[in-house]
């Protein structure tokens, strides 16, 4: 499956901390919303309506524009049974597709294994950020993590250029394939060489990049700019992963959530503008998710961990609109008497993307059959 001769690319954006879905896509004509949120509320006259029921958060105007242009699919009420309120656990569930037992292998790790079974390209998957999210982790699957594309790879603390080059050169020699040194030593050499090669290739990306799009100065804008630069360098990356943190608004939500909405929607909009300007947008779909939504009622300053979140699929080939069902606001149907329920299993959206976008069999990757949506335009 190719698009204009190019392989499809998936960009996953994780909103860390549990985004307040009800204040992102707002049921602005429902009195229950206003009753439940005496403080942490978006006034009715400020919202950006989609229809008579729902509206975008006013700080997500760039995303609303993309929505109006038909490029944003809102996946409502996404979740799973017995939603975990623990950040760690809930994130693990999203990463591993294992809501009951505890899993270790990431769904994207399995995806990468399908895309590049021979491990031909260490940049098949690139994580913009440090460490490795469990979603990308699977035994034997190489993933390159990039903390900062302008200072990528090994020995980044050595500031002096000449000395760092020297160190990298020595590293390359120390990690050159050493046949007969034992399986683990050989594996280490291979992994070290992969890290070196990945970084060596990646560091060319900034030099090849030129753009009129000016990204804002915040972490998600910087991350998505790094995604854009890497994608446009044509290094064969099929999966990008990055995170936007700070959504755990137990307090002060009215101050910080708008800021995050502005940063996120601005960065996404700039990112796609950038890709379009370089004729590199058609082949890219973005999936935005969070580990859970938040409590129905506010606590006077913020909202506590809840369930019933929402996700977005964004891209040129996406058929924009509302998908699945907004969770019922009827208090009789609140989960645990205080949460939005879920209406759509998150593994369905994974299956949709795997099957309809990446052209892979989703069943072994998400471990089962789940109802898919039809968010992609044909052709």
């Amino acid at each position: 499956m190719t698009i204009n001769g190019k392989d499809p690319v998936l960009v996953v954006v994780q909103l860390t901390g549990g985004n307040d879905f009800m204040n992102t896509i707002i049921p602005y004509n429902n009195p229950v919303y206003y009753d439940s949120r005496p403080t942490v509320v978006i006034p009715q006259d400020q919202v950006l309506p989609i229809d008579d029921d729902l509206a975008f958060n006013p700080n997500a105007a760039p995303l609303k524009e993309m929505y109006d242009a038909g490029k944003v699919a809102v996946v409502q009420g996404i979740g799973y049974a017995n939603s975990s309120r623990s950040h760690f656990r809930a994130m693990d569930i999203w990463h591993t597709c294992e809501p009951v037992k505890v899993g270790t292998e990431g769904w994207l790790g399995r995806t990468i294994r399908e895309i590049d079974p021979q491990k031909e390209n260490v940049l098949t998957a690139v994580n913009i950020g440090r460490g490795l999210p469990r979603a990308l982790s699977a035994p034997g699957v190489p993933v390159t993590s990039v903390g900062d594309l302008d200072n990528v790879g090994l020995m980044t603390s050595i500031e002096e250029r000449e000395r760092r080059d020297k160190a990298l050169d020595m590293f390359k020699k120390m990690y050159a394939p050493a046949i007969g040194s034992g399986a683990v030593m050989e594996y280490l050499a291979q992994t070290g060489s992969d890290v070196y090669t990945g970084a060596d290739v990646l560091k060319q990306a900034p030099a090849m990049y030129e753009s009129d799009v000016e990204y804002a100065d915040n972490s998600i804008a910087k991350s998505l700019k790094d995604v854009a630069r890497t994608h446009m360098a044509g290094l064969g990356t099929r999966i990008f992963y990055t995170s936007h943190g700070g959504y755990d608004h137990h307090a002060n939500e009215l101050k910080s959530h708008p800021q995050l909405m502005r940063e996120l929607s601005g960065a996404i909009s700039d990112f796609f503008d950038d890709l379009r300007a370089h004729d590199a947008a058609e082949e890219v779909t973005m999936l935005v998710f969070t580990e859970f939504g938040r409590r129905m009622r506010d606590n006077g300053s913020g909202t506590d961990h809840g369930s019933g979140g929402g996700a977005f699929l964004i891209g040129e080939r996406v058929n924009g609109g509302l998908y699945s069902e907004y969770p019922s606001l009827d208090p009789a149907r609140w989960l645990n008497g205080e949460d939005l329920d879920w209406t759509y299993d998150f593994r369905g959206i994974y299956s949709t993307v795997l099957d309809q976008w990446l052209g892979l069999d989703p069943v072994p990757i998400v471990d089962g059959q789940f109802e898919q949506l039809k968010p992609f335009a044909r052709g």
């Binding site: 623990s86 270790t104 460490g131 603390s157 000395r163 040194s181 992994t191 992969d194």
Partner: protein, 467 residues
């Protein structure tokens, strides 16, 4: 001091502890290997940690401060095997903060490992079964008369004692019934005024007092009776022996492969099993036997360092952490980025060890962490290496040939055995700068950065990834 003695002592301290400064290695080596082993397995012979200053400077309650404080303990303790043993049991009885959000219970579990990790295995299993964090982690709080929850019963047999394949599904059911009613008190919740403790409680009205059959024995068993039977099984001794071997001696395949793949050193396992039965499962005696064995002494660099071992080892080498200091949270963050978030193992199976610690992301983090930390010439540990290279003590000299420069650095930072590829690369570097001259201040200005660079490359090497 013979180099071989120092290398053996460094090996012992990497395995039974968290690495050591050069001074410590010499001090221990002076004492003699067997005496040091006695000190390690009899921690009360060495001074305890200064708990006062820990509570004065590291008081508080969140995941970061708890894990940081544990790492601090690993680095400064004079009873390193206590902390290493606690880490070992944390690997085996893996309980995770991902589910057990009640931090005080997580901390109490580790404290219980410190207290009972060196005792007999039976007591440890009883304490484990009464541990609120474990009870919640494996749902034993939901295990009651008429509605058994088998999660704890199953893992007790499969992962904590005997290993898969040594019992039947009926045994699991009966073991689970024996632990009905073993639960904990509801702690006052975190909000709005902080964590409060939870304690083990036995609820007779939830306990199944009926007859049970377990591993062929019948009776009105309760949890302690089940544990009594478990600890008599050879499978238990073999399973724990293999865990000990994997953690302290050499990397084995992951636990799920154990029923299929035989141990790499069957004789060693047999010897540990023998000691287990000779001493009634006394962990102290078993650890003494392992540390004194030839198979242990010969297993140098046969294990990939865990992230915790790598970070604490680098910190010990740098020598800058001797008292509480701010910002220690970054070190627990570092192990997290390398794939080991303390107090939060990924599953009840614990962390996958050995080569599975290594992937592109984690290797990158390991190297960058070590290079950054050792890149500071002002660190006491780096200063000490420079001082020794410069002729102050043990064979250094103010002027060193490239060969001596390389060898001395490998010795002082380890001693580390390296392969030809690494040695040649380091040697080429040393030769490119000629003689290392630490004799005069103006020469030192040029030579010190060369020493730092050499050390940075050593801690970046493949070989340094092994313990």
């Amino acid at each position: 001091m013979a180099k071989s003695d120092l290398a053996l002592m460094a090996h012992l301290l990497r395995r039974a502890g968290f690495g050591a400064t050069r001074d410590e290695i010499e001090e221990y080596a002076e004492k003699g290997y067997e005496d040091v082993v006695e000190d390690l397995v009899n921690p009360e012979r060495c001074p305890p940690l200064d708990e006062d200053i820990i509570s004065r400077y590291y008081d508080g309650e969140n995941h970061v401060i708890w894990t940081s404080t544990w790492m601090y303990r690993m680095i400064v303790t004079r009873r390193p095997l206590v902390e290493k043993m606690a880490l070992f049991w944390h690997h085996v009885f893996a309980t995770g903060a991902g589910k057990v959000e009640h931090g005080p219970s997580m901390i109490n579990q580790i404290q219980m490992f410190r207290k009972h990790g060196f005792g007999d295995f039976r007591t440890l299993l009883v304490e484990l079964s009464r541990d609120p964090a474990m009870i919640f982690w494996l749902d034993n709080n939901e295990n009651r008369l008429g509605e058994p929850n088998e999660n704890y019963g199953r893992e007790l047999l499969e992962l904590f004692s005997m290993g898969a394949g040594n019992y039947s599904e009926d045994d699991i059911k009966n073991a689970s019934r024996a632990f009905t009613g073993w639960t904990f008190t509801q702690p006052i919740p975190l909000y709005p005024q902080g964590h409060h403790p939870s304690e083990f409680v036995f609820k007779p009205q939830e306990h199944d007092y009926g007859p049970k059959t377990f591993l062929g024995e019948s009776g009105n068993f309760d949890g302690e009776d089940i544990i009594d039977i478990i600890v008599r099984q050879e499978a238990t001794a073999r399973f724990i022996a293999r865990h000990l071997y994997n953690f302290y001696v050499a990397d084995e395949p992951q636990v799920p492969a154990w029923p299929i793949e035989p141990p790499q050193d069957q004789e060693a396992i047999d010897a540990i099993v023998q000691t287990y039965f000779d001493t009634g499962g006394d962990m102290r005696a078993i650890m003494r036997m392992i540390l004194l064995s030839d198979f242990f002494k010969e297993a140098r660099f046969k294990k990939v360092k865990s992230p915790t071992e790598l970070v604490t080892g680098v910190l010990k080498l740098g020598g800058s952490i001797t008292a509480p200091q701010p910002g220690i949270g970054r070190y627990q963050a570092a192990t997290g980025l390398m794939g080991q978030q303390l107090l939060n193992p990924p599953t009840v199976e614990g962390w996958h060890t050995g080569r599975e610690w290594i992937d592109g992301g984690t290797l990158n983090e390991r190297i960058n962490f070590a290079v950054e930390h050792i890149g500071d010439a002002e660190k006491p540990g780096v200063q000490e290496i420079i001082r020794r290279l410069g002729g102050n003590g043990d064979g250094g000299s103010a002027r060193l040939s490239p060969e001596d420069f390389t060898e001395r650095c490998l010795t002082l930072a380890g001693p580390l055995d390296v392969g030809e590829q690494t040695r040649q690369t380091l040697l080429d570097y040393a030769r490119s700068g000629g003689t290392l001259d630490l004799s005069a201040p103006e020469e030192r200005g040029k030579s010190v950065p060369r020493v730092v660079h050499m050390l940075q490359m050593i801690v970046s090497s493949k070989e340094y990834q092994f313990a």
